[in-house]
């Protein structure tokens, strides 16, 4: 299962990176967000994966408990990622409205 998750993280980063290299504004933003998901999953993996273990409740300690802290970390990271998502999507929309173009190069070329 660990291998599968590692591959998934790699795919998320790879696809995200590929999309982020695109000049299309929305693809660019999606690329960034996919990379964010990759990083979140990476943190989740850091606690190690466990199968069939129950959370911390009374009487569950015979077989050990799953790592809870990395789950708490990823929860925080997801919430932060949510704020970032909201900001980037709105920023992309505003850029599209102001520049009337979805080409990232138009933003780069703009020099006041």
């Amino acid at each position: 299962m660990g291998i599968g998750f590692s591959i998934l993280i790699g795919v998320l980063f790879g696809v995200g990176f590929y999309l982020a290299l695109s000049r299309h504004l929305l693809r660019f933003v999606f690329g960034l967000l996919l990379m964010g998901q990759g990083a979140n999953l990476f943190v989740f993996m850091s606690g190690g994966l466990s199968r069939g273990l129950s959370p911390i409740i009374e009487g569950s300690s015979q077989r050990g408990v799953p790592e809870t802290l990395s789950q708490a970390l990823i929860l925080t990271a997801i919430v932060i990622g949510f704020a970032m998502t909201a900001f980037f999507v709105v920023l992309a929309r505003q850029c599209f409205l102001h520049f009337n173009s979805d080409d990232v190069a138009d933003l780069g070329r703009f020099d006041p």
Partner: protein
């Protein structure tokens, strides 16, 4: 006393919550509450600093979870000093908002983001936990995004994209590094990490690879946020479009927060991971100084000149921290504190130059010394302090840094530092001559003369006064700087302060 850092963080958050209720409040009221919040957090920071200076490191454990399992807020002298000077700068910028004419900071939203930005900045300084530090970084970064695009036009939106994307990627790397370290060492508390990294480095190769990767991730992320050379591309592309009070706040605080995190993590966690990293940082420092200053002298727009200067000044600070001797660390600490005051002040003055001269472009302005001699005098202090004039704070910062460097035998870097210092003087003289001495150009679109009010000058005076005081009595800062240098070098002090108190 041990919960003092918590109150430092809570105060701006509470003010942000209060401002959140003020949908329909008028401009004056919102800005007054904003300034009140900034002054309250400054007062607390001052109290905290005095406590740390006269006593010892304050460690507060949140919700009384025993360390290293709980989250710690740690105020040692380094972080307390950074919090103190940052909140002072925040207070000055909050005062200057009232007279801002570029945009209306009294509308809903601006003051909230202002307060949360202060929270984030103080949070990074006070955090004693790597993941917690990441969260405060994000609080700061998201608030800065909001301030960046406040009443944005085309230029701000394009700039925001260039600013937000690299910062977001750096945050991802920071998060991944925290994950790697947690996965390898099973802790996120900085002091506990410092203990365990040493053992793990002599452990299995897997662990070594993970720790080194985390180190590289962290250096990359923090160098980007600090605006050190190869990763500084976003800074001159985005900063010059921000409106002035916001820009002054960014320039004073954001890059220095990245620098603080770089110094804190690399000295505390990775002092012996790689001798290579010190050399790397020295090269980064040299290149930052040179590229920054070359950018600055080629520009004729005040905000652009000053933005490029940030890069070159960051180079000086990294140089001091990377040299790593006690004298060099003292110089670097002195440099950071002096720089925060001077840089914020220069940007605020730049805003006034634009207001009275009608433009940021030096070619289209001039003759300001005749009508605004007082503004010229206030500009003189931070500008020539930045260049390193004797009897101003920058002189002692540069002098002590150069002395430390020559003692270490880093002649090439010191030669670069001297040359860059000379070019800094040239570019400051350029602003001085073009804006203040040169006769008014024919095609000037300066508004009719209006005397500057004391309210506009007060924040500038506070910061210029601090610069002057540090120049006349440098021992005021060298005393604390010496203790900070000792704290950074003797990392056991930090570890014992945090973990010793828990037992």
């Amino acid at each position: 006393m041990t919960s003092l850092p918590v109150f430092v963080l809570l105060t701006p958050l509470v003010f942000a919550a209060v401002l959140f209720c003020g949908h329909s409040w008028g401009r004056e009221r919102v800005l007054a509450i904003n300034a009140l919040g900034a002054s309250a957090v400054f007062g607390l920071a001052l109290f905290q600093w005095i406590q740390v200076w006269t006593g010892r490191t304050i460690v507060s454990t949140l919700a009384s979870w025993p360390l290293p399992y709980g989250i710690a807020l740690v105020a040692d002298l380094f972080s307390a000093s950074m919090v103190l000077v940052s909140t002072l700068v925040g207070f000055c910028v909050a005062l200057s908002l009232r007279h801002n004419q570029e945009f209306d900071p009294g509308r809903f939203g601006y003051a909230i983001a202002f307060q949360t930005l202060l929270t984030g900045v103080c949070g990074v300084f006070l955090s004693g936990d790597l993941f917690n530090m990441y969260v405060w970084f994000e609080v700061m970064v998201v608030s800065s995004f909001v301030l960046f695009v406040y009443e944005a036009g085309k230029a701000q939106l394009a700039g925001a994209m260039k600013y937000a994307v690299p910062n977001y990627l750096a945050s991802l790397l920071f998060l991944s590094a925290a994950g790697l370290l947690y996965g390898t060492l099973g802790t996120l508390n900085l002091a506990d990490l410092a203990n365990r990294i040493h053992e793990a480095l002599s452990g299995t190769p897997n662990h070594q690879v993970a720790i080194r990767s985390a180190f590289v991730f962290l250096i990359f992320a923090f160098c980007l946020k600090a605006g050190a050379f190869p990763l500084s591309f976003w800074l001159p592309a985005s900063y010059p479009v921000v409106s002035v009070p916001t820009l002054a706040l960014f320039a004073g605080l954001l890059t220095k927060v990245g620098l603080y995190a770089l110094v804190r993590t690399s000295t505390l966690l990775f002092p012996d991971v790689w001798p290579f990293s010190r050399t790397l940082l020295l090269i980064v420092a040299g290149l930052s100084m040179v590229t920054g200053i070359l950018g600055a002298i080629s520009q004729f727009e005040i905000r652009r000149i000053l933005s490029y200067h940030i890069i070159s000044q960051i180079g000086y600070m990294i140089l001091g921290f990377a040299l790593g001797t006690k004298a060099a660390l003292m110089a670097a600490v002195f440099y950071v504190i002096h720089h925060i005051l001077v840089k914020t002040n220069l940007f605020l003055i730049g805003g006034l130059i634009c207001q009275v001269g009608g433009t940021f472009d030096l070619k289209k302005t001039g003759g300001l010394a005749r009508h605004y001699p007082f503004l010229a005098a206030i500009f003189f202090i931070p500008a020539f302090s930045l260049a390193g004039f004797p009897l101003l704070s920058g002189f002692f910062a540069k002098f002590s840094l150069l002395k430390a460097g020559f003692d270490e035998g880093a002649y090439v870097l010191m030669g670069i530092a001297l040359g860059v210092s000379f070019l800094t003087l040239i570019s400051m003289l350029k602003i001085w001559i073009e804006a203040f001495w040169k006769p008014v150009p024919l095609k000037s679109n300066a508004p009719p003369f209006r005397a500057l009010s004391w309210g506009q000058l007060l924040p500038l005076l506070i910061m210029a006064g601090s610069t002057l005081a540090l120049g006349l009595w440098p021992q005021l800062l060298f005393g604390p700087a010496e203790r900070i240098a000792d704290e950074i070098r003797g990392r056991n002090v930090y570890v014992e302060a945090v973990l010793g108190e828990a037992r």
